[in-house]
């Protein structure tokens, strides 16, 4: 693999074969070492090839981009950003995936760790009991077919209308919790039926709810704008569009396969099935993805409110004291304005396992955060740190205003199950003062902290390169898992 080092934090895959643009990787020597090793071990299936394959898609702008948490995905790698020209470009399943708008909502409380003394176990138990999680769990909100169409059209606003949360939550959600591009009619009945009982459920796998403490502040101005202080208790909720998103993926994997043939688009990997953005099929898929985006926003809004209720019951807070800091989505396609070759133009940015992370001044971010940039909520894994970063000017120019989403896996689930036992992990974390409540012990083993890359190193690459800015580091104290 021809991989050129540009500087300490950037590598380039020069145009070769049918690539239309170069590949670009934001990384350090150690991450690049892992990528090379993966390439040598699995010549057919690895992140570097996936970056090249994405670079061969029609209409791709500037470069096929991977951020520091990159790891192998389906079609496009997790941790990738693909910006497409609206006229020449395509929308591909590979750059979005099954878990549409999987993302993180972080809530801010006025509490400090000391306020939880003697109540931590009760809080963990209550969260475990009240937040529906795990395979087969159902939510509090049971929807009819017409109601689900409203969810898909209105996103988080629907949940607020139903009494789950406040209008202020919407102000601090990406896209204010709703994209206008959704067309519920382009989502299959099966996808909707699967979602009837799943709004307000956490799901399983790597999804979680975590109570965290602000351990260190790196940027006082940004922390102030985000309402953060040292020792503060926060809650982060990581989940997505649940069964509806999965079914949209299944439905369109097939439809896009046919469209790829119909339009004679040459793809290097079957999972990169796609359609021109300006085609009937492309528009239909985008509107379905947008509906999935709204569904995930609604889902996190409901979960945020359930969390609020638990905090109020256990700790005697009032609901208004628990505020949404921000809500970011991974696995999305959005129309955004960016500068390409000195010209501002509308692009479709497809982010897979990466988040939007706009810099200061962009009109899309809440006024309160205008001068410091958009919060980027970076989820750790059980027992490891999470981070709050902010978008930067440099990130706007170089990575289409994007940020990392997490640490990225380094060990397979299979290997993790062989190596770890869920009970053991829960015990080890308990010794560190972290309470883990999980519906599946095997799932806990799969998500063992050492199955992931070192999040500190991933974040430090993004910070040192100036593409994202470190604001605060969080340590977990309670983790609820599916």
């Amino acid at each position: 693999m021809n991989l050129e080092k540009i500087d300490d934090f950037h590598w380039r895959i020069p145009v070769q074969g049918n690539m239309r643009v170069p590949g670009r990787i934001v990384a350090n020597e150690s991450i690049v070492g892992m990528l090379r090793e993966e390439f040598n071990k699995n010549p057919e299936w690895n992140s570097l090839n996936q970056i090249k394959n994405v670079a061969a898609l029609p209409g791709i702008q500037r470069y096929s981009l991977a951020l520091a948490d990159v790891h192998c995905g389906y079609g496009a790698p997790i941790g990738s950003v693909t910006a497409m020209d609206l006229d020449e470009g395509v929308i591909t399943f590979g750059s979005i995936g099954f878990d549409i708008n999987c993302g993180v909502r972080t809530l801010r409380t006025p509490l400090q760790e000391k306020h939880l003394e003697g109540k931590k176990e009760l809080l963990a138990e209550q969260l475990f009991e009240k937040i529906p999680a795990g395979l087969g769990s159902t939510g509090k909100l049971k929807l009819s077919e017409s109601a689900i169409d409203e969810v898909l059209a209105l996103g988080a606003e629907y949940a607020v209308k139903q009494g789950f949360g406040f209008k202020d939550d919407l102000k601090f959600t990406e896209l204010e919790g709703k994209t206008e591009n959704a067309e519920p009619g382009n989502v299959s009945l099966k996808a909707k039926q699967r979602q009837f009982k799943q709004i307000g459920t956490l799901g399983s796998g790597n999804h979680y709810l975590e109570v965290q403490v602000v351990e260190e502040i790196f940027d006082a101005d940004a922390a102030k704008a985000f309402g953060l202080f040292s020792g503060q208790i926060l809650v982060s909720i990581h989940c997505g569009s649940r069964a509806l998103g999965h079914q949209i993926g299944m439905d369109y994997l097939k439809e896009l396969g046919e469209a790829t043939k119909k339009y004679g688009i040459k793809i290097n990997d079957k999972e990169l099935v796609c359609a021109p953005i300006k085609s009937i099929e492309g528009e239909k898929y985008f509107s379905a993805v947008s509906a999935g985006i709204n569904c995930a926003f609604a889902n996190r809004q409901v979960l945020a409110h359930l969390t609020r209720e638990v905090f109020c019951n256990v700790l005697g807070l009032s609901e208004r004291e628990i505020e949404t800091l921000y809500d970011v989505g991974h696995n999305t396609a959005k129309i955004e304005v960016h500068e390409v070759e000195g010209e501002r133009k509308e692009l479709m940015v497809q982010r897979k396992g990466s988040t939007r992370g706009f810099g200061p001044g962009r009109k899309e971010i809440p006024e309160k955060y205008h001068t410091v940039g958009q919060p980027i909520l970076v989820g750790g894994t059980m027992g490891t740190h999470s981070y709050i970063l902010a978008g930067t000017e440099k990130g706007m120019i170089e990575v289409f205003g994007s940020g990392v989403h997490g640490a990225g896996r380094k060990m397979s689930r299979h290997a993790a199950i062989r190596q770890f036992r869920g009970e053991q992990i829960a015990l080890e974390l308990k010794e560190k003062g972290i309470i883990v409540k999980a519906h599946s012990l095997k799932g806990t083993a799969e998500e063992a902290p050492s199955a992931y890359k070192d999040i500190d190193s991933v974040v430090s690459v993004m910070h040192s390169s100036g593409l994202n800015k470190k604001v605060a580091r969080l340590k977990p104290i309670i983790t609820v898992k599916g």
């Binding site: 299936w45 699967r194 399983s204 796998g205 993926g249 079957k270 060990m411 397979s412 689930r413």
Partner: protein, 139 residues
């Protein structure tokens, strides 16, 4: 016979059979075994499904995905499968039966949810004197 295989982010499901149909049935068992201990899932209810595709690999993905949808819609797990595959004018058609029961959190030992079957490491081929059907599932 079925087994799970290694994959960096997710997990691979593989079924072997003396016939193609049996390999598809076993692959479905492999997939449900990611979610639950299928030996605890009783075959109390039966559902019928039908899928079609232009090749056997896509047929496998369609088969697994329709089972995931049906299981999620009906809040069930499946543990027994019967498959018939017909080849009609370059179009493969699968008629399947799946048997299982409603999810019971107390009795079933539940693991992680499978979001979808993918084209990754997707293979349907002859192996020794039988067939193999496999793909990676997104969890």
């Amino acid at each position: 016979m079925f087994e799970l295989f290694e994959h960096k982010a997710d997990i691979g499901v593989r079924g072997y059979g003396s016939t193609l149909a049996e390999a598809f049935e076993e692959c479905a068992k492999a997939m449900f075994s990611v979610m639950v201990n299928i030996f605890n899932v009783r075959a109390k209810e039966e559902i019928l499904v039908e899928v079609k595709a232009t090749n056997l690999e896509e047929l496998l993905v369609e088969w697994l995905n329709v089972l995931l949808s049906e299981a999620s819609l009906r809040e069930m797990f499946f543990s027994e499968f019967e498959v018939e595959i017909a080849n009609e004018n370059k179009q493969f058609r699968l008629f399947g039966k799946a048997r299982g029961e409603k999810i019971d959190k107390k009795r079933h030992s539940i693991d992680v949810e499978v979001k979808g079957a993918t084209y990754s490491q997707l293979k349907v081929e002859r192996k020794n004197n039988g067939f193999l059907a496999q793909c990676v599932v997104d969890v």
